[in-house]
C-alpha cells in the first residue's frame, strides 16, 4: 500500500489550489448561493469561470496536449476532482461532452471531427447535450425509436429525447438515431452529432420534483443532419454508444467522497443546532452513513490504482455507481431521520434556512435512476461480475 501521490502530482495540487483560491469568490461557498441565481445567470457565471479555468491550464487534465489538454496522470485528475470540490468550485457546464463525447471522438472520430469538436468543447464555446433516453427507452436504451431517413447528403431526423441534461443551454447534441428502417434493438442505429440551433430542433425544460430544471426534452421535427456528422460507422451506433459509456469509469469517487463528506458535516451541524446530537438512534444512522462514505473513499483509491495499472474496470464501474448513489441517497434520508419534523421546514427558525439541504434531499432521489438505475446496475454486477445466469 502506498496512498501518496507523486511529487509532481503534489506540485500540481499546489498550483491548482493556488489558482482556485484566487478565482472563486467567497460567496460561492455559501450553501444557498447557486440556487439563489436565475438559471441562465447561474449557467453564464459557471461558463465564464470555466473558460478562465481552461485558459489557466486546468481543464482536460488527463487529455493529451495535442487536444489542448494538460497531459496529466490519473492521480492528477483525482487531485483535480478533490481540490475543486474543496474549493467550492461550480460543476462543469459541459459535463456530458467532456466525460463521454471527447474521449470517444479522440478514439474513433474523423480528423475533421477531432479538430472541430474537442477544442471548442474544452473552451466551452460549444455546450454538448446527450440524447440517449426517450419516452419509450429509459433503462432499455436499445428501444430507441427516433428515426433518421437519408436524403442526399443529409439525414432527416424525427423523434423525441428526454431527461436531457442542460437541454436549454445546449448547442449540440450527440444522440442515438435509428437509421435503418425496420431494424430492431441494437442494430441499425447511428450516433449523430446534431446542431440544436436549427428549426427542426426544439428544447423544452422539464420541471423536476425538486422544482429545479436540470433536465429537459428535445424534439426533432425534420431536423437535418449532414451524413459526415455521424460518429463512428453508420448503423454501428450501439457500438459507439457502448464505447462512449465505457468512459464513465473515470467517475470520480475521490471528488464525490469529498463532497458527500462535507455534506455529512453539514448535517451534523444541523443535528447539533436542533439538539439531536445526543440521540443514540440518530447517532447510529449518521455513523452508518459515515461507514459507507469512508468505504466509497477506499473504493475510489482502489479504482485509481486499477486505472494507473492500466486495468480494464469493465463491470466494476457498476459497483462504484451503486456505492456512491445509494450512499448519497441514504445520507439525505438520514437528514430527515435525525432532524425530525424540522427537516421539512424551509425556515424552522428565523435565522435557519434549510432550503439548500432540502434541495439536496430531493435531488438524491434522482441519482439511483439516471446513468443506469440501481436495479440495472445490480443485474450487471450479478451477471457480469458474479456470473449468475441471465
Amino acid at each position: 500500500m502506498d496512498l501518496t501521490y507523486t511529487a509532481e502530482e503534489e506540485q500540481f495540487r499546489a498550483e491548482l489550489r493556488d489558482w482556485l483560491a484566487g478565482s472563486i469568490p467567497p460567496e460561492w461557498a455559501e450553501p444557498g448561493f447557486w440556487r439563489s441565481l436565475d438559471d441562465d445567470e447561474s449557467f453564464r457565471l459557471r461558463r465564464e469561470w470555466e473558460a478562465a479555468k481552461t485558459a489557466a491550464g486546468f481543464s482536460g487534465i488527463q487529455w493529451p496536449t495535442e487536444y489542448g489538454g494538460r497531459g496529466g496522470t490519473p492521480g492528477m485528475k483525482a487531485i483535480y476532482d478533490e481540490e475543486t470540490v474543496r474549493a467550492h468550485a461550480p460543476q462543469t457546464v459541459n459535463v456530458l461532452g467532456l466525460t463521454f463525447l471527447a474521449p470517444t471522438v479522440m478514439a474513433i472520430g474523423t480528423p475533421e471531427q477531432k479538430s472541430e469538436i474537442i477544442g471548442p468543447m474544452l473552451r466551452n464555446e460549444v455546450i454538448w447535450c446527450q440524447g440517449f433516453s426517450e419516452p419509450g427507452a429509459g433503462s432499455d436504451l436499445a428501444a430507441v425509436s427516433t428515426r433518421g431517413v437519408r436524403d442526399g447528403d443529409d439525414f432527416v431526423v424525427n423523434g423525441q429525447k428526454i431527461w436531457t441534461t442542460n437541454a436549454m443551454h445546449g448547442d449540440k447534441i450527440f444522440t442515438l438515431v435509428r437509421t435503418e428502417p425496420g431494424s430492431e434493438r441494437h442494430k441499425g442505429l447511428s450516433m449523430m452529432l446534431i446542431d440544436m440551433h436549427q428549426p427542426g430542433v426544439e428544447a423544452r425544460p422539464l420541471k423536476q420534483m425538486s422544482g429545479a430544471s436540470e433536465f429537459g426534452e428535445v424534439f426533432f421535427t425534420d431536423a437535418r443532419v449532414p451524413v459526415k456528422d455521424c460518429l463512428g460507422e453508420i448503423g454501428q451506433g450501439w457500438r459507439t454508444a457502448m464505447l462512449l459509456l465505457s468512459f464513465e469509469r473515470g467517475a470520480s469517487g475521490v471528488g464525490q467522497y469529498t463532497e458527500f463528506r462535507r455534506q455529512y458535516d453539514e448535517i451534523v451541524e444541523q443535528m447539533r443546532r436542533f439538539g439531536r446530537s445526543d440521540d443514540p438512534v440518530a447517532r447510529q444512522k449518521m455513523a452508518n452513513c459515515l461507514v459507507e462514505l469512508e468505504c466509497l473513499r477506499y473504493h475510489a483509491m482502489h479504482i485509481l490504482t486499477q486505472v494507473e495499472q492500466g486495468r480494464d474496470l469493465g463491470a466494476e464501474s457498476s459497483m462504484t455507481k451503486l456505492q456512491w448513489s445509494e450512499t448519497f441517497q441514504d445520507l439525505w434520508e438520514a437528514f430527515d431521520d435525525v432532524l425530525g419534523p424540522e427537516a421539512s421546514l424551509e425556515r424552522p427558525r428565523p435565522d435557519v434556512d434549510l432550503t439548500p439541504y432540502q434541495a439536496q434531499a430531493m435531488w438524491s432521489r434522482s441519482v439511483t435512476i439516471w446513468g443506469g438505475s440501481s436495479q440495472v446496475q445490480r443485474n450487471i454486477v450479478a451477471e457480469r461480475v458474479l456470473g449468475l445466469p441471465r
Binding site: 500500500m1 449518521m286 469512508e294 445490480r378
Partner: protein
C-alpha cells in the same frame, strides 16, 4: 497511489490458502466442530501455520519473527476465516502484539520467540463479563495495591484452556488501566469452559483470585493506550477473518445458485436472488477495502486510524452476518441442515461480529469522533 496487496502479500495469501485447503479442509473442520469436548486446537494446522511463518508475521526480526505489518497479518486472518479454520491464531498474534507494543526488551525476549514459533499459545483477556470493549464499563479485573496481584473475571476469552500466556487488561488501585502478563498455571487462575455454538472456536471465562501478574511496561505504549492499541488490532484482525468468511460464503452461494434449478431455471437467474447477491458483493468488497485501509492506517500511525478501525469492524461485522445468513437462505432447506457447511460460516460470523466491539459499538465510536 497503490491501494492493493503487493505481489509478495498475494503470494503469502496463496501459500496459506493452499496449505489450509490441502491439509485442513471442511471435513477436518467438521471433526473439530463435532468434538466439542476436544481442545479445538488441531496440531497439524497449528504446526503448519507456524512453518509458514503465519504466527511470526508481526514479531520483530530480533525475536525470531518476520517483522512485517498488520497488512500482512490480515492476509492470514482472511484465509483462516475463509477456511473457517479453528485454532488460537488470532489471540496468539494479539498477545505478541501486546508484548511488541508495551513490553520491555526483557519481557519481549522472554515470550516473543516462543509465540512466533507456535511453541506457546497466547490469548488476550481484555473485557470483563458484560462490560464494554473500550473499558468504559466493567473492566472485570483489578490489581491490588502491590500492583502484582490480579483478581476478577474476564469473558469471553478465546482458547484459554490451551493458552500458555494470558495478556490481561486490568485496572490498578489508582484506577489506571494496563496490560498484565499472567502465566498458565499461576496461583488462583482458573478457566471455566463456556461452550459456544461456533464449533470452530473454544471459549471460556478466565477467573483470577489474587493471581500473580506482571505489568507490561517499558515499551512504546503503556496504560490505556496499550489496551486501546491491542483492542484496535483485535478489531482489525477479526474484521479480516469476518471478511474472509463473508467472501467464501458468498462465493459458495453464487456457485450453488448458478446450477440449482427450480421452476425450470437456475435460481440464480431470478432477480430477487441476483439483486441480493449483487448488494452482498458490493458490501463484502467494501468491507475488504475497509480492512486493507484500517490495517495500513495502523501500520503507518495514520491520524485517521481510529475512524478507519471502527469503519472496518462495523462494515465487516455487518457484511459477514449478511453474507452468511444469505448462504443459509439461498441454499434453501439443505443450508439449514447439520450436514451442510453453511452453519460453520454463519456461526463463526455471528459469534465474531461482536468481538472487539460490535458494529453498533463501532458506529457509536464513529459518532463520538465526528459528532461530539
Amino acid at each position: 497511489m497503490f491501494f492493493a496487496l503487493t505481489e509478495d502479500q498475494q503470494a503469502f495469501a496463496a501459500t496459506v490458502r493452499e496449505f489450509v485447503a490441502d491439509r485442513f479442509d471442511l471435513d477436518a473442520v467438521r471433526a473439530v466442530v463435532e468434538d466439542p469436548d476436544g481442545d479445538g486446537h488441531p496440531m497439524t494446522l497449528w504446526k503448519g501455520l507456524a512453518d509458514q511463518g503465519a504466527l511470526a508475521v508481526l514479531v520483530p526480526e530480533e525475536h525470531d519473527g518476520l517483522g512485517l505489518g498488520l497488512l500482512d497479518a490480515q492476509v492470514v486472518a482472511r484465509e483462516l476465516g475463509a477456511a473457517v479454520a479453528p485454532g488460537p491464531w488470532t489471540t496468539t498474534v494479539l498477545a505478541a502484539e501486546a508484548l511488541r507494543l508495551a513490553g520491555s526488551p526483557a519481557q519481549q525476549a522472554a515470550w516473543l520467540p516462543a509465540l512466533a514459533a507456535g511453541e506457546t499459545v497466547g490469548t488476550v483477556a481484555l473485557r470483563g463479563e458484560a462490560g464494554s470493549w473500550d473499558g468504559r464499563s466493567g473492566r472485570g479485573i483489578t490489581v491490588d495495591a502491590s500492583g502484582e496481584r490480579l483478581s476478577g473475571t474476564a469473558s469471553p476469552v478465546d482458547y484459554p484452556a490451551v493458552a500458555g500466556l494470558f495478556v490481561v487488561a486490568a485496572t490498578d488501585a489508582d484506577g489506571a488501566p494496563g496490560l498484565y502478563l499472567v502465566e498458565a498455571g499461576a496461583e488462583g487462575l482458573s478457566v471455566r469452559d463456556q461452550r459456544t455454538y461456533d464449533g470452530t472456536a473454544r471459549v471460556g471465562a478466565v477467573e483470577l483470585a489474587d493471581t500473580p501478574g506482571e505489568l507490561l511496561t517499558g515499551g512504546t505504549l503503556s496504560g490505556g493506550e496499550a489496551v486501546g492499541a491491542v483492542t484496535a488490532r483485535g478489531a482489525v484482525l477479526t474484521a479480516a477473518d469476518l471478511v474472509g468468511v463473508a467472501r467464501e460464503a458468498l462465493t459458495r452461494t453464487v456457485d450453488y445458485d448458478r446450477d440449482r434449478k427450480q421452476f425450470g431455471a437456475p435460481v440464480g437467474s431470478f432477480q430477487a436472488i441476483k439483486h441480493t447477491m449483487a448488494d452482498l458483493h458490493v458490501g463484502v468488497t467494501m468491507a475488504e477495502h475497509a480492512v486493507l485501509f484500517a490495517a495500513h492506517a495502523l501500520d503507518t500511525d495514520d491520524p485517521g486510524a481510529d475512524i478507519a478501525v471502527a469503519v472496518a469492524k462495523a462494515k465487516a461485522s455487518d457484511a459477514a452476518w449478511a453474507a452468511t445468513g444469505a448462504m443459509i437462505q439461498f441454499f434453501g432447506g439443505i443450508g439449514f441442515t447439520w450436514e451442510h457447511e453453511a452453519h460453520f460460516f454463519y456461526k463463526r460470523a455471528r459469534r465474531r461480529a461482536p468481538l472487539f466491539g460490535s458494529a453498533d459499538e463501532h458506529r457509536e465510536r464513529l459518532a463520538a469522533l465526528t459528532i461530539d
